[in-house]
């Protein structure tokens, strides 16, 4: 029973990691860069949701939709203003850029008087509810995260696997030059990818808000989602979820059964072990250059 309850908690927490990791993988698949700003986008999404509910008095669902919309728009603008100009530079430049964007986003939010340094809650309708199923406590907030994560993952998977646009995104990330030669609108797709990523981040932010609260530093949880994405295999969407679950469960179990200190390092130990045993993660493709 104890074990089961811990396991379920782990799954739920893992879905949170998986949800954030989805954002990483999405950007990676579409642009082959790693966005260190994903956590901050999530934070902004949560603040948008807060503004919509608190400031504009929208009902919950409308607030969610408008926050996602606003963030997608924000992603578009962000891409246009700072990422577009260096499109085509080595991926590492863009990684650095996202770190910079993260700093600026966090700093700017902190600068808003009366809001920036505060911690707030998002009044979701399902707050603080729990189901009791045969002695197990299922947290509604977490169940919503699980459902949303599964849905989102399936959706994104379909886009990348079957749609022409999804394929073209991957093509552009693998060889931008060739993509241009084929008439693939690389820039537009890039905008689309960032808009999508910002939208996904907004969803993550809104779903996480009841659990982590809304504050300028809430994006730091993204650091735990990196191991999740790596364990799953960085380019794989189902891998992101699987990796998240592994990390979540390991964390939960090691917190209970292992000595103090292991709970926080367990995910990182798992990553290191994983990289030694399966360097490409659970679902990552084995890549080899042919010469």
């Amino acid at each position: 029973m104890q074990f089961l309850q811990l396991f379920i908690s782990g799954i739920a927490q893992g879905c949170i990691y998986g949800l954030i990791a989805l954002g990483f993988v999405l950007i990676y698949k579409a642009t082959e860069t790693v966005s260190f700003a994903q956590g901050e986008l999530m934070m902004l999404g949560a603040f948008f949701g807060l503004a919509a509910m608190g400031g504009l008095g929208f009902p919950f669902w409308l607030a969610v939709l408008s926050a996602i919309g606003a963030m997608a728009l924000f992603g578009l603008v962000l891409e246009k203003v700072v990422i577009r100009p260096i499109l085509g530079q080595p991926a590492f430049s863009i990684v650095m850029l996202t770190i910079g964007i993260g700093y600026v986003a966090r700093g700017l939010v902190t600068m808003i008087p009366g809001i920036g340094t505060e911690t707030r809650t998002l009044p979701v309708p399902y707050k603080d509810q729990a189901w009791n199923v045969g002695g197990l406590v299922l947290n509604v907030e977490q169940m919503v995260v699980i459902a949303a994560t599964a849905l989102l993952c399936a959706l994104l998977y379909a886009v990348f696997r079957y749609s022409k646009v999804g394929l073209a995104m991957q093509a552009a990330s693998q060889n931008q030059l060739a993509a241009y030669y084929m008439g693939i609108p690389v820039k537009r797709l890039n905008s689309l990818a960032w808009a999508l990523a910002a939208g996904v981040a907004a969803i993550a932010g809104l779903l996480l808000a009841p659990i982590t609260f809304v504050h300028a530093n809430m994006g730091f949880i993204g650091l735990k989602a990196f191991p999740a994405a790596v364990v799953g295999g960085f380019g794989s969407l189902p891998g992101a979820i699987a990796g998240g679950l592994v990390i979540g469960v390991v964390e939960s179990l090691s917190g209970f059964y292992l000595p103090e200190g292991f709970k926080d390092t367990a995910p990182y130990i798992v990553v290191l072990v994983m990289l030694v045993v399966l360097p490409n993660g659970l679902f990552g493709e084995k890549l080899r250059k042919k010469v």
Partner: protein, 366 residues
């Protein structure tokens, strides 16, 4: 020639976290200090000298704290540094100050290193987390008739102080800490910690937690149907706890040294003060505003007493032998002597009742 003191001005420095993880507190402390500085200047200053506050940002990073201290001490040439926030930050900055005979006045951290070992340039005002828990816990254990006490604390110097306080307090009544659990700063998931506490059947849980973690841990416990008595330190004594935590955190105890200045507080002077603060900064005051305010206030009183020839030595002379009577925020009497550089080691217990902090005990005498 004493640095930082001119004919017309006294320059004091402070180092706050203005862009790091506890920027919220740093900002409030700064505003509290500024409020008192402005008041003093309006009233004609200290011995005819205006007071000026130089603020540096440490971003809660010891390296930046050192650089900030170096700037304040060697470049801006402040008279002393007051209300510096953070334990590690203070530890890193103090050597820089002491080299130049600059006092570290009332840092905003309740660690024992702020006055121990005794140093002529170190002064601290607040009962340490260690003392708070050490004195409050036995009382609560007796009241609740608890058999088993556990701890959940943040895995850093702050959390450790709480944990050690709990150990010492329990030892005094012949008990041991039942289960020790920790988490890392910024953690959001407490399921395994709470599971552990629940499994061991603790009736009182001492929380070495700050804000979000306090709420997160209590909420997790309530959801899993585990309802022990929770006791936090003054770090958890902020209005954010009940604002964010809602119903779940009702019943939480916390030790505290100064009272939270609610805008609709029953006590008239506090209400007046809080309104003044809100008018000036357009933000609600918190205990950190009060800390900042009191620190500058106490500085001014000592400087006044030190007389027109203000130097580090004359300030220390005035300070060693100073007694501060209780102020409007209900702090206890605190005294300083040449061998006692901690104002007092007393704290009170508060409890969240109906979504707001209520003082539930007088100062607990150890």
């Amino acid at each position: 020639q004493q640095q930082g003191v001119s004919k017309s001005e006294i320059l004091i420095g402070t180092i706050q976290d203005l862009s790091g993880p506890i920027a919220a507190f740093g900002k409030q402390a700064r505003m509290g200090m500024q409020l008192r500085v402005d008041e003093i200047n309006e009233q004609g200053g200290i011995q005819g000298r205006r007071l000026k506050l130089a603020v540096e940002d440490s971003a809660y990073d010891p390296k930046k704290a050192v650089l900030a201290a170096q700037k304040l001490v060697n470049q801006d040439k402040v008279f002393l540094i007051a209300g510096h926030i953070g334990t590690a930050q203070n530890m890193a900055a103090m050597p820089v100050q002491f080299e130049k005979n600059i006092i570290n006045f009332m840092p905003i951290t309740a660690a024992r290193e702020m006055y121990e070992p005794l140093h002529r340039l170190k002064y601290s005002f607040a009962a340490t987390y260690y003392d708070q828990i050490r004195t409050a816990l036995p009382k609560l254990v007796k009241e609740k008739n608890a058999k088993k006490v556990c701890t959940l604390y943040q895995d850093d110097d702050f959390g450790l102080e709480v944990q050690r306080g709990a150990e010492a307090g329990l030892k005094a009544v012949g008990m041991d800490v039942g289960e020790k659990t920790t988490y890392k700063r910024g953690a959001t998931d407490f399921s395994s910690q709470v599971a552990k506490l629940k499994a061991s059947g603790c009736e009182v849980v001492v929380l070495g937690t700050i804000i979000r973690e306090t709420i997160g841990a209590i909420a997790e416990a309530r959801k899993t149907g585990y309802n022990p008595t929770f006791l936090g330190s003054s770090a958890a004594y902020t209005d954010l706890i009940h604002k964010l935590g809602g119903k779940a955190v009702d019943g939480l105890y916390a030790t505290m040294t100064v009272q939270h200045p609610y805008l609709d507080e029953a006590s008239q002077p506090i209400r007046f003060w809080a309104t003044k603060y809100k008018t000036k900064f357009n933000e609600d005051p918190t205990v950190f505003s009060v800390y900042g305010y009191s620190i500058v206030d106490q500085f001014a009183r000592v400087a006044q007493k030190a007389g027109p020839n203000l130097t580090t030595d004359s300030f220390i002379k005035a300070m060693d032998g100073m007694t501060f009577e209780p102020d409007i925020f209900g702090s206890p009497i605190s005294t300083y002597t040449a061998t006692k550089h901690l104002g007092n080691e007393l704290s009170r217990l508060s409890q969240i009742q109906d979504g707001r902090w209520k003082v539930v005990s007088d100062y607990v005498r150890p």
